[in-house]
């Protein structure tokens, strides 16, 4: 099976000084967690999450839900969608690099999600930037708005491509001195012994050697069950319901009501036949 080309999440230009290079942004990693759907055990109908109000013993429709931020226990400040929308920064049209920093100066802890920036059109200036970043071992820093949030990003070269890495903000990073560890107190001789012992182990990082074991095992189980036990499917009527469910208001349709309606429909049909 060949991989589908990843969908572009954003397109615009990457720029610094007078240079501007059109690029498309695609995710560089894909989530590999297997996602499960929740099914009703009795008939495998697909289940939906609902917001439930214990006070009134009812399901609450999205339009009657408001966000509350708990400022003190049981004390909330409510925030509307409009208020949140008004804070949303404008989507960036370009990634404007403001600084070029040494790659090593960005602590590993700051790295969050990586994306590729692919050349959109002419590859010449793109290749120049890749080459320049790669040789200087530097990354460009920029602020960049996507999906309504502003991100601090680093643009660096990875092999022959540009890579954009979303960085954590400093306030998100827990300083190591909070942890009350102190490496300076380590015994010098003991450190030497450790290094000697470690040199016997492999030093090159070989990602291929580190398969996601739990994922593989889970996939194996699923494949095995599929062959042996087969698949299950939802009852016939549920498809139509799941499609529209989002738009609907929950009004608590009781089983008895449905039964009564079915009985009356059957009676009406019988009479017509006579």
């Amino acid at each position: 099976m060949t991989a589908m080309p990843p969908r572009s999440l954003w397109s615009g230009t990457i720029s610094f000084g007078l240079v501007s290079i059109p690029v498309n942004m695609v995710p560089a990693v894909r989530a590999q967690r297997l996602q499960f759907h929740m099914l009703h055990r009795k008939d495998n109908a697909r289940l939906h999450r609902r917001m439930y109000c214990p006070e009134h013993n009812t399901v609450v429709h999205p339009e009657h839900i408001v966000r509350g931020y708990e400022v003190e226990p049981e004390q909330w400040v409510t925030v509307t969608e409009e208020e949140l929308d008004s804070l949303e920064p404008k989507r960036s049209r370009s990634i404007e690099i403001t600084d070029f920093v040494q790659l090593d100066d960005i602590p590993a802890l700051y790295y969050d999600r990586p994306y590729y920036l692919l050349p959109d059109g002419a590859g010449k200036p793109y290749n120049l930037l890749v080459e320049a970043l790669s040789r200087s071992k530097r990354a460009g820093l920029a602020r960049f708005v996507m999906h309504g949030r502003e991100h601090l990003v680093a643009v660096r070269a990875i092999e022959s491509a540009l890579c954009l890495i979303m960085l954590h903000y400093p306030s998100e990073i827990r300083p190591a001195d909070d942890l009350q560890t102190d490496a300076s107190q380590a015994d010098k001789d003991a450190v030497k012994t450790f290094r000697r012992a470690a040199s016997g182990l492999k030093w090159d990082f070989d990602p291929q050697a580190h398969e996601n074991q739990s994922l593989v095992r889970l996939q194996q189980i699923i494949e095995k069950k599929r062959k042996k036990v087969g698949t299950v499917e939802a009852p016939e009527s549920s498809e139509a319901e799941t499609q529209e469910e989002e738009a609907e208001e929950e009004t608590g349709e009781s089983v008895d009501l449905v039964a009564a309606l079915e009985a009356s429909l059957a009676r009406a049909k019988n009479k017509r036949r006579k």
């Binding site: 139509a240 609907e248 009501l257 079915e262 009356s264 009406a268």
Partner: protein, 302 residues
């Protein structure tokens, strides 16, 4: 061209009407003057159905072939005697809707080229008390009015088994509207839940004929039973309202025997009435929808 204005007196109130010669239905030449005249002559029948119900005006200032707009807010330049009612809308701030209770009010909204009158299902201050349960039967081509008629008869029989009497009206187009009068204490939660269960039951047993899903792609060749109109915020076109189609058709109340006949003859054209036919029919038949105003029915307590 200067606006032509005509001052008339309706039930003791002076009204200034404008552009009476303006053609609103280019295909037939039906004018704004005829529109106002239709509503004025239908007043005895339509007013009881409008009374107390907040109204949305669907206005066609340049006729049915041009742009229209829904006017929820009763225009600020309304006469001071025009009744309004504050309505909580879902998206906007509360708005003052028009409430048409008398002939001058009816003529005034008609003069705004409000070809279609869409009313909320509750009356006066009883915000959570629909006066009727409604279904909008809307066919997806190639299904049409005839298929709606078949579904409506099946629904009538089924609800009849539950002791509920129902009344049909044409939409003025290819659809049918199905009313179950209530006129008893009931909430929109009750009616919507019940209506949805009815639609789903039909979908389950007559899935080749019926869908309860709004999506157009699901509707091809089927009748969509729209149960979702049973909502405090939703309007339904009022009985006897003109429709802004190519010809001046009316949302006309029907007799069940007419619906049966259409199905039997496999010809639903007899279920469509235009303004002039409606006026004659009203003389002959009176208000076929009168029971919708008075018949007290309760949804089965289940």
């Amino acid at each position: 061209m200067a606006k032509q204005k005509t001052t008339v007196e309706v039930a003791g109130k002076k009204l200034e009407l404008s552009n009476l010669d303006k053609v609103l239905y280019p295909e037939t030449g039906f004018t704004k003057g005829q529109t106002i005249d239709y509503y004025r002559r239908m007043a005895p029948l339509i007013l009881p159905h409008l009374e107390g119900h907040p109204l949305t005006l669907k206005r066609y200032p340049h006729g049915v072939a041009e742009d229209f707009f829904y006017e929820k807010r009763c225009p600020s330049y309304r006469p001071e005697w025009m009744e309004t009612r504050q309505v909580d809308t879902r998206s906007d701030k509360p708005l003052k809707y028009c409430v048409v209770n008398d002939e001058p009010g009816l003529v005034w909204v008609a003069n705004l080229a409000s070809i279609e009158l869409h009313s909320l299902l509750y009356r006066k201050e009883h915000l959570d008390r629909p006066t009727a349960l409604v279904f909008d039967l809307d066919p997806g081509p190639p299904a049409g009015l005839l298929q709606c008629a078949e579904v409506a008869l099946a629904m009538r029989d089924m609800l009849g088994e539950l002791g509920l009497e129902s009344f049909p009206k044409s939409s003025g187009g290819n659809g049918l509207h199905f009313y179950v009068p209530l006129n008893t204490p009931v909430t929109f939660d009750d009616t919507k839940g019940f209506a949805r269960a009815v639609a789903r039951t039909f979908e389950k047993h007559q899935g080749d004929q019926v869908t309860s899903v709004m999506k157009k792609s699901e509707r091809t060749g089927k009748v969509f039973i729209d149960w979702s109109q049973n909502d405090q915020h939703k309007t339904t076109v009022c009985v006897y309202s003109l429709r802004a189609r190519q010809r001046p058709t009316v949302s006309a109340p029907l007799e069940w025997k007419e619906v049966e006949q259409a199905v039997k003859r496999e010809d639903a054209s007899g279920l469509i009435f235009e303004a002039e036919q409606m006026l004659q029919r009203a003389d002959k038949k009176g208000d076929l929808f009168a029971p919708v105003l008075t018949l007290k029915q309760k949804l089965p307590a289940i």
